[in-house]
């Protein structure tokens, strides 16, 4: 088990390999489809994003509402490929990590190699469990989007697996070769 803290830099990212089990600590930002659309519109207008994206991790997630006394409701990864077309520009602007589920496009993987970034997968369907690793949560942008608003989360020991590393190695591809008996 490897432990890393955000923000990320090339030194931390280089040490991660596809298939590594990692626990993440520090601040990450949630964003789904609609928030990504707004990010790109903002960047294309030449405006600033609602948070400094350099070195940061975006978690593709929209939480359930928090019950009274809870930091956040259940939270887990959504399908990453829906964000593929947006990820390229964000990587150009310094995004260093993404947490989601499912494979990424060839273009995203190439951009990750070019900009030295890492893609983690968290387990889908275990959102009550994952919410326990969130220590603080606040909405920092697009509150009108409801569950699709951008949350700044402080996480501790948040469990993920490196799905694609900064060399472009894809654990989805590698592991299916090992386990397929077709």
């Amino acid at each position: 088990m490897i432990k890393i803290d955000t923000p990320l830099d090339d030194g931390k990212i280089i040490k991660l390999h596809a298939g590594d089990e990692v626990i993440i600590g520090g601040v990450v930002y949630t964003a789904r489809d609609k928030a990504h659309k707004r990010f790109i519109e903002t960047l294309r207008k030449g405006d600033k994003l609602p948070f400094d994206i350099a070195g940061q991790i975006i978690f593709y997630a929209g939480p359930a509402p928090a019950k009274p006394g809870e930091v956040i409701g259940s939270i887990g990864p959504t399908t990453s490929s829906r964000m593929d077309s947006f990820a390229l520009e964000l990587l150009e602007h310094g995004l260093k990590g993404m947490i989601g589920k499912g494979p990424r496009s060839k273009e995203v993987k190439e951009a990750m190699v070019e900009h030295k970034a890492v893609y983690f997968t968290a387990t889908g369907g275990v959102a009550a469990l994952l919410s326990q690793y969130v220590k603080r949560a606040k909405i920092v942008a697009y509150e009108d989007l409801g569950p699709e608003a951008v949350y700044e989360l402080e996480i501790e020991d948040f469990p993920v697996v490196v799905a694609v590393d900064c060399r472009g190695n894809d654990f989805y591809v590698e592991s299916s070769k090992i386990w397929s008996h077709e």
């Binding site: 499912g102 590698e174 397929s180």
Partner: protein
């Protein structure tokens, strides 16, 4: 004739929405536990254990199993000797969903217009309602909150009669291969065979409501279910798509007669957090 006030229906649906989102189905829970006897992949085992721990935690703390509390699919079997009073069924169903998703702190994931506006309706309505009139004087209500990830990879294919069982296998296996990690494996694969273009999708959804330990009552389809499960678990996709022997927990097939020129097939995926609950009024 038995009079049932639709308020009772609304209250039942409110309760079932919360119950199904907090409590993993016991058939799915036990299948996950049993899958640890088979899964050899190290990461696969870690993931299955997370799924089991999550289900226990969600139940104990009464939290949604998954942040995606889904769009609500509702099956109503309404006895023909029942007279419904006090309002319309559709309004009562949506009132139940509205209250359940509010009181249960469940995520609201429904947008009003599919193509242009896509504004969240704010209360997870409307539900997808399927109703049948059946003999009797009671109403059977079944609720299934269904997440987007597993719906997005689902498939309808109009095969030709000559494609036969081999054609059906090809469609199902291709759907699982294309779905990869996206429907949150280990999945339950609902397969509809027969009917028409529109109804075969419903058959596949209906298959997901069935207990996953129950095989199709027609032995030929029961064998097809078991063969498909073996073939799917040979693909190596594994838990979370990170490789392993357990890609699916079960294949449930539902069938209906069809036109002599047709062989419709539908595949509806249920994620590892397959949720449903039912009651009788």
């Amino acid at each position: 004739m038995k009079k049932i006030n639709v308020k009772e229906l609304a209250e039942a649906i409110e309760k079932l929405c919360i119950e199904s989102n907090y409590n993993l189905r016991s058939d799915v829970f036990h299948a996950l536990r049993n899958s640890l006897n088979v899964e050899e992949s190290k990461i696969g085992r870690v993931i299955i254990k997370q799924i089991i721990k999550n289900a226990e935690l969600a139940c104990a703390k009464q939290l949604p199993i998954c942040q995606d509390c889904g769009i609500v699919n509702i099956l109503l079997k309404i006895g023909q000797d029942v007279v419904l009073i006090g309002g319309t069924v559709e309004e009562a169903v949506n009132e139940g969903v509205r209250k359940g998703y509010g009181r249960g702190f469940l995520r609201k994931s429904v947008v009003c217009d599919p193509c242009f506006e896509r504004k969240n309706t704010g209360d997870n309505t409307p539900a997808i309602i399927s109703q049948r009139i059946v003999p009797g004087d009671s109403i059977r209500v079944a609720v299934m909150p269904k997440g987007g990830g597993s719906e997005n990879v689902s498939v309808v294919k109009m095969l030709l009669p000559g494609d036969g069982p081999e054609g059906i296998k090809r469609v199902v296996l291709q759907a699982v291969k294309d779905a990869k990690a996206n429907p949150c494996p280990p999945v339950v694969v609902g397969v509809g065979i027969g009917g028409t273009f529109d109804s075969v999708g419903f058959l596949a959804k209906k298959a997901l409501f069935r207990n996953i330990n129950e095989r199709n009552s027609d032995e030929r389809y029961a064998v097809l279910e078991m063969n498909l499960l073996d073939d799917i678990n040979s693909l190596g996709i594994g838990p979370s798509g990170l490789g392993g022997k357990i890609t699916a927990l079960a294949v449930n097939i539902e069938t209906f007669p069809c036109h002599m020129a047709c062989l419709p097939v539908a595949v509806n995926f249920g994620c590892c957090a397959l949720r449903s609950a039912e009651c009788v009024l």
